[in-house]
Subunit: 401 residues, 2 copies
């Protein structure tokens, strides 16, 4: 290796951004060139997207310019889309600007929706859990309200909103939407009883894996806001009319939001890494098996929870912790020290349910209502602190006052 | 050194507690015995004490049992008062339980009030900025109100409250008190115009070192709540009647709160370390000059700000950062690695002014009112997260909802 090694960071989600923010706290700045590559020149908080998607928060509040957070005098930023990683050639193929070579690479590429083979998802449902996707969902919802009032023959289905999947994302989204529906009802002069909200889930419970008491709390609360749950109800197709269920029933809805889960990034599959649905079962030091200089973290890494023997779901919490380990391990590689093992430390999980409502687990304690809502906002603000210090909290944080 | 080295941590303030909380994240648990020694079996947040002192927060909300936060199966806890450190003998003399020997010591002993030679402070003013001290101030204030109504000859001075010092502590305290006075006025049937509040400051400005615009904001706000400032006004004595000023004037007040500043702990002076008013100008690795195994952090360490060439004021922010460096440096000493230099990273400073008001600087940005209040609560909650994770935030945090 002649001169300083080149470190590439792919993706500006939680994994990539925290790696970029922490790397020169772990590595001496004279020891490496670092480049961050991302499709957009902004970062957004995926875990906040249920709010702009439902229209309860301006989308710009969930994003920030990368250059406002990452010191681009120290880290080079390339705005481009990654097409393929060629690990045998230590190089990355980019869509518009050719290619980039590396000595070490950290891939923090994000997940994509999982359809589980259901037809019509990409044609008829909103499935992109991105900033652009969230804006489209919000505008579509509002358009349905204004359209209903102007149609010569108003369609009931235009006032019907269906969410496929009662996991974390689906529940947080319906929480926001159900909180906003009374406002939309008033704004567009449409009586509440004409508006329908559905959540359809194939598993035997909403929020699989969550404590049953919390699940019940969430479902009761959402049902009181007018949400109808169809649990244990697999979907067979999405059509222009709505959802077709495996039991033969149809859910007529001009708005279907697809939130049944995610898979890893197609770039991982294309690049030849051994993977399961786009996720690589990484070594304990977070490297891809067989590659000494390829780290995979965030949504495309697969880590087994030794207690449950099942993979951890891809969360911001784990991505951020992985980023710190990766920064340490890059320093170790550059300075010929021993690499450390990644050990996830699950501090808790909180799902917001709109307004001042939320549920969750903090340590071993269950939380509901305003305590849970407080913890959710604290978690969101703490992320901003980790990324950009108190200045970023001040600028972008959730100030309850 | 036979067997595992013994590490003693003295004091359970910000410095000692964060050292204890982080030490086994930096040092392998099999490599050292760690003991924490503190006078009380609880920790309290000194930076919150203006609230219980004024009676706007229950004192128990600012404290926690040490055993609830520090894993005492891993760290031994001794409840005792430190009388003297004998660095030549590697031992600490304790008040009740004899002595404790060490291979390495981290002293996080707290500050004591500075009187600047003014007479009568300890006899006639409330100067103890501790949990017990705060409780006494609150109870005394309330007692003055109830006494006034029952005295055959009610004393005006019983309704007069004087704070000596318009620094951080004095301003935060008068902020809380002025916020609470209307409530006390109502509760005790005493008209507002009978109640007097004074802040007396020897320096040419309140909050010396703070931005003038912020100081003006704070003074205007407090004056609107009825506080009278006497700036540029040194005090010559505290008496049973109140304050005697150098200009000959008297401020009659049955309650005087002394908040002119602090000095280091007398134990440091007694133990023979070279010091300035109880503070040791520590080496860059935070060790006491001339001692390879003595770290001094927190209120008793003196660190020069190279930009201003003046010492940093002793703050929780710096104490917590020092604790992380100390944990790293203890690991380095035990494993024969190079020690790191401590570099304070001042992220901002926010002073609360009672209610939803505060002022401060975050990065280079000035903040006022509700933004500042939000950042203050965020800083307070973040401390709890660092110490005990989200569970402690949930239990003890400032939940605005």
């Amino acid at each position: 290796m002649a001169g300083k090694p080149n470190i590439l960071i792919l993706g500006a989600g939680y994994a990539g951004m925290v790696t970029a923010a922490k790397i020169f706290k772990k590595i001496d700045q004279n020891q490496a060139n670092v480049t961050l590559i991302s499709k957009h020149d902004y970062h957004y908080q995926t875990t906040w997207l249920h709010e702009p998607a439902a229209g309860t928060m301006h989308p710009d509040r969930t994003r920030m310019n990368i250059k406002d957070v990452i010191d681009t005098t120290k880290i080079k930023f390339i705005q481009d889309e990654v097409v393929e990683i060629k690990p045998a050639e230590n190089k990355v193929v980019l869509k518009n600007t050719g290619s980039a070579e590396y000595d070490y690479i950290v891939t923090g590429l994000g997940a994509v929706p999982e359809t589980f083979g259901v037809e019509g998802v990409f044609e008829h449902a909103y499935s992109k859990w991105t900033l652009n996707g969230a804006r489209q969902i919000k505008d579509h919802i509002e358009y349905m309200f204004s359209k209903y009032n102007n149609d010569p023959e108003p369609k009931e289905a235009d006032l019907s909103f269906a969410v496929a999947g009662a996991g974390f994302t689906g529940m947080e989204f319906i929480g926001e939407l159900s909180e906003r529906i009374p406002e939309l009802s008033k704004k567009y002069d449409i009586p509440m009883n004409k508006i329908k909200m559905y959540v359809v889930e194939a598993a035997p419970t909403a929020l699989p894996g969550f404590d049953p008491e919390l699940v019940e709390y969430a479902m009761n609360l959402l049902e009181n806001r007018g949400v109808e749950f169809k649990i244990n109800t697999p979907i067979s197709a999405v059509t222009a009319e709505g959802l077709v269920l495996k039991n033969g029933e149809e859910v007529k809805a001009s708005t279907v939001v697809w939130a049944t889960g995610v898979r890893g990034n197609p770039v991982i599959e294309k690049s030849g890494f051994e993977n399961m649905r786009g996720r690589v079962k990484v070594d304990k030091d977070l490297r891809a098996p067989g590659y000494e200089n390829v780290f995979i973290i965030g949504d495309c890494s697969l880590i087994i929870n030794e207690e449950t023997e099942r993979p951890y779901p891809p969360t911001a919490q784990i991505a951020m912790q992985q980023a710190v380990t990766v920064a340490n391990n890059l320093n170790a590689l550059i300075n010929n020290k021993a690499l450390e093992e990644f050990k996830p430390e699950i501090k808790g999980t909180v799902a917001s349910l709109g307004g001042k409502e939320a549920i969750g687990v903090i340590g071993k304690r269950k939380v509901f209502g305003t305590s849970a809502n407080f913890m959710k906002k604290m978690i969101d603000n703490r992320y901003l602190w980790i990324l950009g210090g108190p200045g970023l909290v001040l600028k972008k944080g959730k100030n309850p006052f």
